[in-house]
Every structure is written in C-alpha cells, then in structure tokens.
C-alpha cells in the first residue's frame, strides 16, 4: 500500500527496511519526535482518562454530579462564557480601532495588548488583589458604597480572565481586518449606507470566523486558569471555587477519583474547543484563498 501525498515524496505505509543513510536519518528523526510527543503529551493525557474511569462510568458520573463539583464546573463555565462575550466585543473593537484609525499613542496601545502574555498569571492575581482587595482603598470603597465585592466572588474571576485573554481576539482579528479590501465599503457608503450598516453587512462577515476562533481559544484558556483565580477568588465551595481549584483540593485530600473525573471533563472540553478552533482556522484560510 502506497500513500501518495505529493509528487516528491511517496511514503510506503508497510514498514520497509530503509536502505540509504538518508532514509535512516528520516526514520531516526521521526522516531525521536514521536517518542518525545508520546512521553510528554500522550501518556499523561491517557493516564488521567484511565484513572478517572477506573471504577466504571457510573462512579465517574457520580463524582461529577456531586453538588460541590457540579457547582465548581458550572461557575467555571459561566464565568468563562461571560468573559468570552465581553472579550469578543472589546477585542473586535480594539482591533478595529488599531487598524482603521491613527491617533497619538497607537503604537503604545498596540504594545500593551501583548503584556498579559508576558506577565505570570499568579502576578496578575496579586495585582488584582492590591487593586480590589477588601483591605485596599478601592475594594473597601466599592464594598461600602455599593456592597459590591470583586474579590472572593465571580466578578474577580471574570476580571482576571479578561486580563489574561485580552490578546486572543484582538490578535486573531487584526491581520484579517488589515487585509480587507475597502472598495466595497466605499461603494456602500456611496449608496447611502450608514456606518453601523456598513460594519454589520460588509466589514463583519469576513471577520466572523477569526472572531469566533479567538473567542473559542480564550474560552479554552479560561477554563483551566488557576494561578490568578486561586488568589483572586480563593477557595469557597459553592461561591468562588472553580473547577481547577476544586481539582487541587481533591488532590490534596487524596480523593483520586474525584480529581480525575473533573480533570477529564476539563481536558475533554479543552480538546473539543481546540479541534473546533483548528477546523475554523483552516476554513477561514480556505475562504481567503478563494477570494484571492
């Protein structure tokens, strides 16, 4: 059986003894890459699946639906979803402003967007505590005036997630917006369309896929976040305990089954989202090729 990929290389699928030194080198380098990926990625991911289903599907399900675990999962999902909505709107707007307008300090703004990627997430948590902590000025004032607490509550979680994932949508939309042909917009304006109509009907459709890709990636990243959340939200069951913090608690109290079950759910969501984002990225690449 021969698998033909392109005109230059034909790879026999049946294992054949490579005869030339070049083929040996190819085989060698490929086995190194596969061994590395297997040890570093595949074995750890598989071991958690094996461990979580050790006592059968019913026990796995029982661990997930324990009230504490279930509420931690729900909190993680809804705070991440809220972050995703805000991030989608503000990220698209930021990309639009950066691409379309010139103003003083634009280069600085463009640089600031990447800062969250360079700052350790634990440090992000510390920053937010200093700003909104109950014993700090702003936090105390919000609490006294509006009875609104950011720390040890969902708003803090959403704020931390927004900080971490801010670059995702912006950097996903920006290059596509830059490539956009503006003659259609001019035509629409000539025909009397207003700014909002032009944005909705002409600018946004080609941006939809990159916006969605960026949003999904930020969601996938948010679900597993730990460093900033453990500082900002603490560890209050039913109130501010997210799935990652719950897993840590179960590991520490040696409830292996519970830790593994929730881990599997988190890994499965992450994997599904990544595969879907990858598929969308390929589709948007293809549609760009068609236009070109």
């Amino acid at each position: 059986m021969i698998l033909k990929m392109n005109s230059q290389t034909t790879i026999p699928l049946t294992i054949k003894k490579p005869s030339t030194p070049l083929a040996w080198g190819r085989l060698g380098i490929r086995s190194i890459a596969f061994t590395y990926l297997t040890i570093m990625l595949i074995i750890p991911l598989l071991v958690i699946v094996q461990d979580g289903f050790r006592d059968g599907l019913a026990e796995f399900w029982r661990q997930i639906t324990l009230p504490v675990a279930w509420s931690a999962l729900k909190l993680t999902l809804w705070t991440s979803a809220t972050m995703m909505v805000i991030n989608t709107i503000m990220g698209t707007l930021t990309a639009f402003v950066l691409v379309r307008y010139n103003f003083l300090g634009k280069t600085i703004l463009n640089g600031i967007i990447d800062l969250p990627l360079a700052i350790p997430t634990l440090v992000t948590g510390v920053m937010l505590v200093i700003l909104f902590g109950p014993q700090e000025a702003l936090g105390a004032w919000l609490k006294k005036q509006f009875d609104f607490s950011v720390m040890f509550a969902p708003p803090g979680i959403i704020l931390a997630l927004l900080f971490l994932t801010f670059p995702f949508v912006v950097r996903s939309v920006q290059p596509v917006l830059m490539e956009l042909d503006r003659s259609q917009e001019r035509a629409a304006a000539t025909l009397g369309a207003g700014g909002w109509t032009i944005f909705r009907r002409i600018i946004f459709p080609p941006l939809a896929l990159p916006v969605l890709t960026g949003a999904l990636l930020s969601f996938a990243r948010a679900i597993g976040e730990f460093g900033s959340i453990v500082i900002v939200a603490g560890n209050i069951p039913f109130r501010s305990q997210t799935a990652a913090v719950y897993v840590l608690g179960e590991v520490e109290s040696e409830n292996r089954l519970g830790a593994s079950a929730i881990s599997i759910v988190m890994v499965a969501i992450a994997f599904g989202l990544l595969m879907f984002a990858d598929y969308l990225r390929k589709r948007s690449k293809n549609s760009q090729k068609e236009i070109a």
Partner: protein, 289 residues
C-alpha cells in the same frame, strides 16, 4: 502637530466623495468615541492592575522592598525558578525543533490529530498537568516501580517540577517554528546539497540561520512562561519551603502568611523579569527587520 496631520489625512482617505459636512462630523465623532472606549478599557483592565502592583510594592519605600527580598529563602526560590526554566528551555529548543521539523517536512497519518494535541498544554489546566504527573510518578503511580529501581525521586522534587514545566510550555517553541519552516524555501537546501554539503552541514549553514528568529522568540516565550508557572509545580512539587519552593510558590505562601510587602516585591521582580524578556526580544526582532 504630527498626530493632528496624520489623523487628518486618515479622515480624508476614509471619506466618500458624496459625503456631506454632517456625515463627516458624524464620522469624526464615532472615531473619537471608539478610540476613547478602547483606551479607557485597556487602562482599566491592564494598566491599572500593573500600576497597583508597582505602588503596592513601593508603599513603604524602596528600602522595604530590598529588606523584604534579602532573605536566603527568597534567593533559593528564585534560583529554583531560574534553573528549572533554563533546563526546560534547553530541552524544548532541541526537541521542539525536531518536532516542528518532522511536522512540516514529513507526511504521516494522524498529522491533524497531532496538530491539535500540540496545543493541548495551552488549554489543559496547570493543576491537571501537575496531577497527571503525580498519577505517573507518585507513590502508587504507574512509573513508581521504575523510579524506585533507578533510585531517583520525581514527585515532590525538582525533576518532577522540570517535567511539569516542560508539559506546560510545550507548544511555544513548536508553534513559533512551524510557520517559519513552512515559509522556508527548500530550494536553498537542495542547492546546498547539490554543491556537496551533507545533511548536517545543510541544516547548520542554510536552514538554521533562517530559523534563528523563530527560535529566539520561541525561547523567550518558553522562558517567560516557565518563570511564571505555578499550578503544575505546586501540585507535583508540593512547595516545600527551602526545598521545592519556586518564586511563584513563595509569592503564594507570603500572601497566605500576610507578608504583603514581600509578596508584592517578589511579584514585581518576577513580572518585570518576564516583561523585560518578552519586550526585549520583540525589540530585537523589530530592530532586525
């Protein structure tokens, strides 16, 4: 002066020939409203927390920062972080290059699946990553007999923390190199081969120089991420003071023990360090092009 003229030309470009005076002003208002919204959002979300950390650390003066940082336990914590990061960067530079190479140059079944898997550490929670290693190398772990036979300790020791950081930082090097390798014109390699260079010479003299910037950026991102790793090293390392405590684990403990100035100062140092790293390599790259 320059800013005014450039915004003016931008306005001229975007205006349609039939727009009236009213339309033009509406466009101007929209422009400044959107710019203000974005600047306010970024200032509130990103700049305010950074400023808060700086002020928080400097609250009791520069001297207080120095005295709070001048402790042997903090030096040890930063030292642990630094050498774990260095080991991780070295391993990823070598194996990340190999993986990216095989991914771009070879065709094999399951390539799409591997493409998705490479990004997994980016989305898998660090806590889960540390827990996976605990399942493998812990007391009743899958590899426990092997580890015991070899007489090394992995869980609750530095080797485990290196492994955890390796897992978490896996995608950076590979993701930086794949597009560079894809864009690289293989005719240069063929020319070198025709001129009698062997495989290693071709890689070292022709391919490697083209990969250099991708590598530098991959190294920086890996390094910055490794410096800040927290959840995974907490689970696998246990954060034993004076032994397996890294910079991030120290900050966490200091916060819990209410040593605020110490925690804020260490956070500031760690944040500054990775910031300088990332911004520095960005600056170098811009200077080159």
């Amino acid at each position: 002066m320059k800013a005014i003229s450039s915004s003016h030309t931008a306005l001229m470009e975007s205006e349609s020939p039939f727009s009236t005076w009213v339309d033009r002003n509406k466009e101007k208002w929209t422009k400044w409203a959107l710019i203000t919204a974005v600047i306010v959002y970024v200032a509130f979300l990103i700049l305010a927390p950074i400023a808060a950390l700086t002020f928080g650390a400097f609250k009791k003066g520069f001297g207080a920062i120095l005295t709070s940082l001048n402790k042997p336990e903090i030096f040890l914590a930063f030292w642990n972080t630094l050498w774990i990061s260095l080991v991780v960067v070295t391993i990823h530079t070598i194996f990340g290059t190999i993986v990216a190479w095989v991914f771009v140059r070879h065709r094999f079944p399951g390539r799409n699946l591997i493409n998705g898997l490479i990004d997994m550490p980016f989305a898998v929670s660090p806590v889960v990553a540390g827990y996976m290693l605990l399942l493998l190398f812990g007391r009743n772990g899958l590899f426990a007999p092997l580890i015991d036979a070899l007489g090394i300790q992995v869980a609750f020791a530095l080797p485990g923390m290196v492994l955890a950081t390796l897992f978490v930082t896996m995608p950076f090097m590979i993701r930086e190199l794949i597009p560079v390798l894809e864009a690289f014109d293989t005719r240069q390699e063929k020319a070198a081969a025709t001129l009698g260079a062997n495989g290693w010479q071709t890689f070292w003299k022709v391919t490697f120089p083209a990969l250099r910037w991708g590598m530098i950026y991959g190294i920086t991102l890996t390094f910055a991420r490794a410096l800040g790793e927290f959840g995974a090293v907490l689970v696998i390392g246990g954060g034993v003071q004076g032994k397996t405590e890294t910079a991030t684990l120290f900050i966490y403990r200091a916060l819990e023990e209410r040593q605020y100035i110490g925690a804020y100062s260490a956070a500031l140092v760690l944040g500054l360090f990775s910031l300088i790293l990332v911004l520095g390599s960005d600056w170098l790259r811009r200077k080159e092009h």
